[in-house]
């Protein structure tokens, strides 16, 4: 799915948190969003997912303005995952149930996905008893299971252990490579960005400071703010 | 005496009297009229608790009230005999009336005339709708007496036992277009709001005698016996009796209660 943002402004009361003149994310691209805390990354993701209104400006998905159809075909994984008060299985199966997939097939697809993500043993646990990282895994699985055209991921691996991180990154990468899913990934982890992203958006104080090819933004940014940020990242 | 004054609430004033009475008495407005004049005369305030007859007697029995004004002669006499009250005095009477729909579907007015027993017999035979208070009140007790005189045990779908006060029972009769027994005062006070008329009145059996009883002061030391006695004396006095007789003349053109203290 191609996304075009034009003259987007978002205020909370007096406080302006987003101001983006233009941004175009190509269909099938894997785009990282980086920037300091409070830069407006989560707000941008929420707006793109249709979960928060804009103060002014427009967003076009494949040339069309947002509509029910568009939202049917994308999903968001939040920074703080919210799981349904039911089993892990139910959480992952839910999007498939909505899409009236046959019961048998749901069973197969959920099980297969759980195996690939090494979390079969969690399937019949109640969602509210999971550890922080386990909950994040379930939220990602729930987003991947129905193969949406656009995937908005807000720090999806912040609480994930390294072994699981490898698995999760490969799952995300696969979705982009195999299914052609357009992916926006918010991350503070420069190594992760390097491993996964084709493009990077660097944001600060609600504005897009730099947008371009990953290697360029990370290793030879034009913008001085970006440079400082990335240098800090690399040291860490 | 000084002890009572020290309770602080009524210093320099006579302590109030609690009177338990029936809702029908209170709803007629008589007590508002009468007791405000009593207060002018004696400085004693009377607090009126309007409840069902059964509860009024219970309040007396338990010593919660100081004086009772009710209209269930048999129960009252029993009450005095059991030692709960000192003496029962006749105060006044009004009368019961049988009321029913304006078009009188059972033609009771023609066929029974003044005879209440005949009237209830017709209702029972024709299975006309009859709403009974069903709450063991004075009015209910009177109604049961008429059935007994007619040799009928009222039962069946036509006989509706409401378990409610007088006003509400009339409202039910009005809504269901049935017959019911009411005291005249309550009926008159509600006459404009309902589509019911008097079908039987004037039978001597329909007299509704009110009595006043001071509660036995031995029950507990909080009973205001003196005030109760004063109230009784005042109501039975010429002045009190005259006021009772005059009440209702302006609004209804007739006395609602006829004083008959000895």
């Amino acid at each position: 799915m191609e996304i075009v943002i034009s003259n987007l402004v978002k205020n909370y009361g007096q406080h302006r948190v987003l101001e983006i003149e233009e941004l175009k994310i190509a269909r099938g691209s894997f785009c990282g969003i980086m920037g300091p805390n409070g830069a407006g990354k989560s707000t941008l993701v929420k707006i793109l997912g249709g979960l928060d209104g804009v103060t002014s400006g427009k967003i076009y998905y494949d040339g069309k303005e947002s509509s029910g159809d568009v939202y049917q075909n994308m999903t968001v994984v939040f920074q703080k995952p919210y799981l349904l008060r039911d089993t892990v299985f139910y959480n992952i199966a839910y999007p498939l149930m909505l899409r009236k997939v046959a019961k048998k097939e749901i069973e197969t697809r959920v099980r297969q996905l759980a195996e690939e993500m090494a979390m079969e043993d969690l399937l019949y646990r109640k969602a509210w008893t999971l550890s922080g990282g386990e909950a994040q895994k379930v939220a990602l699985a729930r987003a991947l299971v129905f193969k949406p055209a656009l995937l908005l991921l807000d720090e999806p691996t912040a609480n994930i252990d390294p072994a699981s991180m490898v698995v999760m990154e490969s799952m995300i990468k696969q979705a982009n490579a195999k299914e052609g899913t357009t992916i926006l990934l918010v991350t503070h982890h420069i190594h992760q960005a390097k491993r996964l992203c084709g493009d990077i958006v660097f944001m600060d104080k609600g504005k897009v400071e730099e947008f371009g090819e990953m290697r360029e933004v990370i290793f030879s940014p034009r913008n001085i703010k970006t440079k400082w940020f990335m240098e800090g990242e690399i040291i860490i | 005496k000084t002890e009572k004054a020290q309770e602080g609430v009524h210093i320099g004033e006579n302590p109030p009297v609690i009177m338990a009475t029936t809702t029908s008495t209170e709803n007629s407005g008589l007590l508002d009229d009468l007791l405000s004049k009593f207060k002018e005369d004696t400085g004693i305030e009377v607090k009126v608790i309007a409840v069902g007859t059964g509860q009024a007697l219970k309040l007396g029995e338990n010593g919660e009230a100081d004086v009772l004004l009710v209209h269930a002669k048999a129960s009252e006499e029993e009450f005095v005999k059991a030692g709960h009250g000192l003496q029962r005095f006749d105060v006044m009477y009004n009368d019961f009336v049988l009321i029913g729909p304006k078009d009188d579907p059972l033609k009771i007015k023609e066929r029974a005339g003044q005879d209440i027993v005949r009237a209830v017999t017709i209702i029972a035979v024709k299975k006309g709708k009859f709403i009974s208070r069903g709450d063991d009140s004075g009015t209910h007790q009177a109604e049961l007496k008429y059935w007994e005189m007619a040799g009928i045990a009222p039962q069946g779908n036509w006989y509706i036992s409401a378990g409610k006060g007088m006003g509400e029972t009339i409202l039910i009769a009005n809504e269901m277009l049935g017959y019911t027994l009411s005291d005249r005062a309550t009926y008159l006070s509600m006459r404009d709001k309902i589509d019911l008329q008097i079908v039987v009145e004037g039978d001597s059996k329909l007299y509704n005698q009110y009595g006043i009883i001071a509660v036995n002061p031995d029950k507990n030391d909080r009973i205001n016996h003196e005030g109760a006695q004063q109230l009784i004396r005042w109501i039975l006095s010429e002045k009190g009796q005259k006021l009772i007789g005059a009440f209702g003349k302006d609004s209804y053109g007739q006395s609602l209660f006829i004083p008959n203290a000895e």
Binding site: Y71, T75, R85 | G52, G54, Q55, L57, E61, I160, G163
Partner: protein, 229 residues
């Protein structure tokens, strides 16, 4: 004091006597209040949830209105329903006055704002989050509502229990529209009031105990259902 203890004893005797009249009063109480709660729930759950997640003009006023109606005196609810269905009222031709149906209608009116208010309160807190999640997973509005009902089930349950508790314990509305007619519209609370007005305190308390006993049973059942979580 003696009456209270005596009342407790009588409550047991009453239940063990298997008196048909007593049982039919208990049964009618439960029937009327459960039906009223049921119908109120049908309306109140969607309305409460929509109030919680949708923004519209006048929303504030509507909500304060619902909160206000939560403290609607039963007598007024009863009276208004009575005037509407009474012989001369606009719905008089239905002949509903002094029937269990009338009692159900009056209690339904009383309970709707209570359940609506409680469901709205629950929805306000996490409804938006659930709605957003449902949207991101591709739910249409019907499925969103179903999901909200599932996620808010504890709040909904609280609302239903509170509404039922209000219905079964109120006397003002059923007294006016039902009339406390023996064998037809006599329920526990109207009987208690009548007994009390007849000075029969023991029996009044005994029936009150029975009423509370039933509420306790209902709560216990719901408690075990809830604990399954």
């Amino acid at each position: 004091m003696r009456e209270i203890l005596e009342g407790c004893k009588q409550a047991i005797i009453l239940l063990l006597s298997f008196d048909q009249e007593v049982y039919s009063i208990i049964f009618l109480s439960l029937y009327v209040s459960l039906m009223a709660t049921f119908f109120a729930t049908l309306l109140a759950i969607p309305v409460g949830i929509l109030l919680g997640i949708k923004d519209f003009q006048w929303k504030n006023i509507v909500i304060r209105f619902v909160y206000t109606l939560m403290s609607l005196p039963p007598v007024i609810a009863g009276l208004v329903v009575f005037l509407l269905i009474s012989r001369k009222g606009p719905f008089g031709f239905l002949g509903l006055v002094y029937t269990p149906t009338a009692m159900i209608i009056a209690q339904t009116c009383l309970v709707i704002p209570i359940i609506t208010g409680i469901v709205y309160n629950g929805t306000k807190e996490k409804g938006k989050t659930v709605q957003i999640l449902a949207k991101t997973l591709g739910a249409d509005s019907r499925h969103t509502l179903l999901l909200l009902m599932k996620e808010l089930r504890i709040d909904i349950l609280t609302g239903i229990v509170t509404g039922y508790g209000r219905a079964v314990s109120e006397v003002g509305a059923v007294m006016i529209v039902g009339g406390n007619i023996k064998g037809h519209t006599r329920v526990m609370t109207t009987t208690i009031t009548m007994l009390q007005s007849m000075g029969n305190y023991e029996m009044a308390i005994a029936l009150g105990m029975v009423l509370l006993g039933i509420s306790f049973t209902v709560n216990t059942i719901l408690y075990y259902y809830q604990r399954g979580e």
